[in-house]
């Protein structure tokens, strides 16, 4: 899957990203904190099950390494990081919302939010053009 990027591709509006992150900080940071890193969400993802149980496809892995990474860096990310995150939330996730969490963490919402942040910086797959 090829990710589109804007022509002025080195530029990342970190202020805009931070604003978006701050708007939903309460729920997102709480969910990231409550995550026990138990990996019980793994089997609920059909991509995990059909890709030889590759940990990359675990919902928790995807969340921690997308929206978790954005919050950790407080939105100050390079374009290459955004593209990595973009690949994770589009290539490794179908957003089928089947993800299960024993603590009721809203994993699909977190992944969808990561997508919207990527989209805001012009990082999104060709089919979403």
């Amino acid at each position: 899957m090829k990710l589109m990027t804007k022509q002025h591709l080195e530029y990342v509006n970190t202020k805009q990203i931070k604003k978006m992150l701050d708007k939903r900080r309460a729920k997102m940071t709480l969910s990231l904190k409550v995550c026990a890193h138990c990996s019980f969400c793994a089997e609920s993802c059909f991509l995990f099950n059909s890709n030889n149980k590759d940990p990359r496809y675990m919902p928790s892995f995807k969340v921690i390494n997308s929206i978790g990474r954005l919050y950790k860096k407080r939105g100050k990310v390079k374009r290459s990081t955004l593209e990595e995150i973009g690949k994770r939330v589009w290539e490794d996730c179908a957003l089928c919302t089947r993800c299960y969490c024993p603590f009721g963490i809203d994993l699909p919402d977190m992944l969808a939010f990561a997508r919207s942040i990527c989209r805001s910086q012009g990082v999104f797959p060709e089919y979403e053009k």
Binding site: A26, L30, V34, C35, A42, F61, C101, F103
Partner: protein, 233 residues
């Protein structure tokens, strides 16, 4: 008076530190509860569970009666996917709570402090529970190190929380059998216990509160019951 003596540290650890740690725990739980209420809202009449899994809804998905129905329900939970880990986890959490609460030594101290205490297990039973707990912690540690799926999402914080949860039980057992210098071990026991209690609401141990919020109160596909709140957005 030597302010840095072991005895001073012992009295500090046994006295004010215990109360402060419990105060921090209670305030932390209150803070998390209020925070949860503020970032959620009451479910309106239009909110539906898309795929209700709760046993309080239709019984077609859980055929049978009594024990058979319960078994059919359990088959559709995480227990059927990871039976070993879930059983260890259940034992772990059960022992984690009952061991310190019904420990004779703790209840003697509580009785001295407030004139009241609860029932206590015999010391042998408490020791057995402690060993079971440490075996569970060892299982979780090995799982976290060896299983690729768990290792992939593990960080220093995960290992630290495991250590800080095990420390009071290890030091408690060492103190009971008077291995090493008793005074130092018991001080370490009190400090590690207080630390664990204090950081509980502010670390991933807060899942002890949010498990109930997330699975019983929030409305989603995996709500147990009907749920009464949804996210604010």
């Amino acid at each position: 008076m030597n302010y840095f003596s072991i005895d001073t540290l012992y009295h500090l650890a046994r006295g004010p530190m215990v109360w402060i740690s419990f105060l921090v725990l209670i305030l932390g739980i209150a803070y998390n509860t209020v925070r949860f209420i503020f970032i959620t809202k009451k479910k309106d009449g239009l909110t539906l569970n898309p795929l209700p899994i709760s046993p309080s809804t239709e019984s077609d998905r859980f055929p049978g009666k009594g024990v058979q129905r319960l078994l059919n329900l359990l088959k559709q939970t995480i227990l059927s996917v990871n039976p070993g880990t879930i059983v260890v986890s259940l034992i772990f959490h059960f022992v984690l709570f009952i061991t310190p609460v019904f420990l004779l030594a703790h209840n003697i101290l509580i009785d001295e402090a407030i004139g009241f205490s609860v029932f206590s297990f015999s010391e042998n039973i408490s020791n057995v529970f402690t060993i079971i707990f440490l075996l569970c912690i060892f299982f979780f540690l090995i799982r976290r190190i060896l299983l690729p799926r768990v290792r992939a999402i593990s960080s220093f914080n995960d290992y630290f929380i495991l250590f800080i949860t095990a420390a009071p039980f290890i030091t408690g057992l060492l103190a009971y059998y008077q291995i090493f210098n008793y005074k130092i071990v018991i001080i370490l026991h009190m400090i590690s216990g207080a630390l664990m209690i204090s950081i509980a609401p502010f670390s991933k141990i807060s899942h002890m509160i949010f498990f109930f919020f997330g699975r019983f109160v929030l409305t989603n596909e995996y709500t147990i019951g009907k749920g009464s709140r949804t996210w604010n957005r």
